[in-house]
Amino acid sequence: MIRLLAILVGLAFTGVAAWSLLWGAIAFAGDPPKETVEHRFHKHAEPLKLASNGPFGKYDRAQLQRGLQVYKEVCAACHGLNQVSFRSLTELGYDEPEVKAIAKQWQIEVPSINDKTGEAASRKAIAADRFPNPYANEVAARAANNNALPPDLSLITKAREGGAPYIHSLLTGYRKPPADLPKANQPGPGLYYNPYFVNLNIAMPPPITADGQVTYADGTNPTVNQMATDVSAFLVWTAQPELESRHRMGLAVLIFLFAATGLAWLAYRNIWADRH
């Protein structure tokens, strides 16, 4: 009885699914999905070699410091970094007085109150502060950016498919729109053609435009590619400040586990020796 009932229920579900399949197949045969323009012109991120890649990856501290400089001089005008504290810059190799100086000299001030009148005010950042947001709120950010919202960059390399290579490709990927790009997909006012961006037209103006835009303190030649690579490496660090300790601990844990599992295997064979 229960099996008869089951077969009837089974026929109902398989029948309705087959009905959906039939209509789906007819629609598919009659009007096969066409390749979208976005799909045709879209490019995947180019590979990017960073010191932090791979299971033994470590950060290149000099590169992170250069990346911070690019962020400070180029990105910070529009993009926040509100999960990251100035004090964590010690992980980039700065000592405490240097971190305090970086915080104090940061061009954007931290919202505060006037301690006499209680009115809204702003003050210089200190090491305990997070990186201050460039805009007071979303409305202000959109008003200043042609109604586009510059995302916070703290987690950007984890929050985008493709990670750091995508960020690097996007920064260096601005092009003239190709001649065969349909008119509907041409960048409108305030938009820029970038084949690495998902819908090809991005509201962010090309941020890194020419070699030498930043003058590196360590004398590295500031080519466009170098600046884009450095800031991508820096943004890997802002998203994963734990990466080095994670890799180090992972290696130690794996060495321990291989030894322990080897012993467990020997114990198992030993105990079972009389049963095989």
Binding site: I2, R3, A6, I7, V9, G10, L11, F13, T14, V16, A17, A18, W19, S20, L21, W23, G24, A25, F28, P32, P33, P55, Q83, V84, S85, S88, P151, S154, L155, K158, A159, R160, E161, V198, A239, P241, E242, R246, H247, M249, G250, L251, V253, L254, L257, F258, A260, T261, A264, W265, A267, Y268, I271, W272, R275
Partner: protein, 436 residues
């Protein structure tokens, strides 16, 4: 506990005797997982996964309790408090990555455990109750995992909560009030986040309780085994401790190695990038997908695309719930008296088709709802329902099964290949006799 030759507990010291006389906890442990639990001697590595699932639950509870000390379940704070755990809490990243990947490994282990049961007929008499309680655990796990994924309050958290609670909106008439009641509002917000956090903290302990019942029910008939032949004599069994504790110890080592590789070197591989974007009710992600362990069911949900008497969406919701609920009837749908798939040549084929089918469903569930993935998931959905509701009842009635070994010891001593060889091919049908 289950067999007459199970060794009764003998306290080794005066102290243990003192405790055992006042609270027979040592006796309980000894009989449940110690030397007093006789287990078939021929269990293979697929019998490790029950213990591994228990370990996975412990990892989740321990890491989860510490995470809860640092997490704030409020819409304005949840995302930032998760990042606070990742950055400012000592080894917070280890806790959170461990908890997120631990959930994935819990499901990997449980899926293997379930398919083990499907292949070796562990759901059959007299172990139906073990199977049913296991399914209850599986449903509780799914609810817990779903609510846990909402807590970081990223984009996928928010939109996942909206889509899944939206499924209840497909129920005619009462659907939308139910959805509003579940969320405590018209869209996921503080009320939903708070109750999800509360339930996410509660349900693991309910799971632990049902696991006790699951193990209790298992100890009545004792463990099944790869031949599916009943335990007949003391020679068929060996004590759980030290034999299977040692084997589980080795299996646990392998499990932890794989877990550590994911946790330390690929912590975000199984996650979704969009969940590192704070929840935004005004911006819908291009592709809303649940975590990978829900993909097969998500594919079934989306396979119903055309109205037939009922709206397509309602069919999808019904099919998704039915795809799990039908497993509760499995012990009565598959009436073959032979438990193990090793001795069921026809069933074996369909079993492996089912494994491939669920993998295909999982693949399609993770893709965007575009052709050809929808058509593939429709074909796979048809097979999924046909397998359990049509093929199994018919196969179990007409299949000619292979001769079974006389006993577990015989199959171990003579080697399985020889025993399962189709010597007496004339034997078959509902009551197979053993090979001579």
């Amino acid at each position: 506990m289950s067999f007459s030759w199970a060794a009764p507990y003998q306290p080794k010291s005066g102290f243990m005797r003192w405790i055992d006389e006042r609270l027979p906890l040592p006796r309980l442990v000894y009989g449940a997982i110690g030397g007093g639990y006789p287990v078939p001697r021929n269990l293979n590595y697929f019998w490790n996964f029950g213990v591994l699932a228990g370990v996975a639950l412990v990892i989740q509870i321990v890491s989860g309790i510490i995470l809860a000390m640092h997490y704030a379940p409020a819409g304005a704070l949840a995302f930032d408090s998760t990042e606070h755990i990742m950055r400012d809490v000592n080894q917070g990243w280890l806790l959170r990555y461990g908890h997120a990947n631990g959930a994935s490994f819990f499901f990997v282990v449980v899926y293997i455990h379930i398919f083990r049961g499907l292949f070796y007929g562990s759901y059959k008499a007299p172990r139906e109750m073990v199977w049913l309680l296991g399914l209850v655990i599986f449903l509780l796990m799914m609810a817990t995992a779903f609510m846990g994924y909402v807590l970081p309050w990223g984009q996928m958290s928010f939109w996942g909560a909206k889509v899944i609670t939206g499924l209840f909106g497909a129920i005619p008439v009462v659907g939308e009030p139910i959805q509003t009641w579940l969320l405590g509002g018209f869209a996921p917000d503080n009320a939903a986040l708070n109750r999800f956090f509360s339930l996410h903290y509660l349900l693991p302990f309910v799971i632990a309780g049902v696991i006790i019942l699951h193990i209790w029910a298992l100890h009545i008939p004792g463990s099944s085994n790869p031949t599916g032949v009943d335990v007949k004599t003391p020679q068929d069994t060996i004590p759980f401790h030290p034999y299977y504790t040692a084997k589980d110890g080795f299996g646990l080592g392998i499990f932890l190695i794989l877990f550590a590789i994911m946790l330390f070197f690929l912590p975000n591989y199984l996650g979704h990038a969009d969940n590192y974007i704070p929840a935004n009710p005004l911006s819908t992600p291009a592709h809303i997908v649940p975590e990978w362990y829900f993909w097969p069911f998500y594919a079934i949900l989306r396979a119903f695309t055309f109205d037939f008497l009922l709206p397509a969406k309602l069919w999808g919701v019904l099919a998704m719930f039915a795809s799990i609920l039908l497993l509760f009837f499995l012990p009565w749908l598959d009436k073959s008296p032979v438990r193990s798939g090793n001795y069921r040549p026809t069933f074996k084929w369909f079993f492996w088709i089912l494994v491939a089918d669920v993998l295909v469903l999982g693949f399609c569930g993770g893709r965007p709802a575009e052709e050809p993935f929808v058509m593939i998931s429709q074909i796979a959905t048809i097979y999924y329902f046909a397998h359990f509701l049509i093929i199994l009842p018919i196969v179990s009635k007409f299949e000619r099964t292979l001769p079974l070994p006389h006993s577990i010891s015989e199959s171990v001593l003579h080697g399985e290949q020889k025993e399962s060889a189709p010597l007496g091919v004339t034997v078959g049908g509902p009551a197979p006799t053993a090979a001579a």
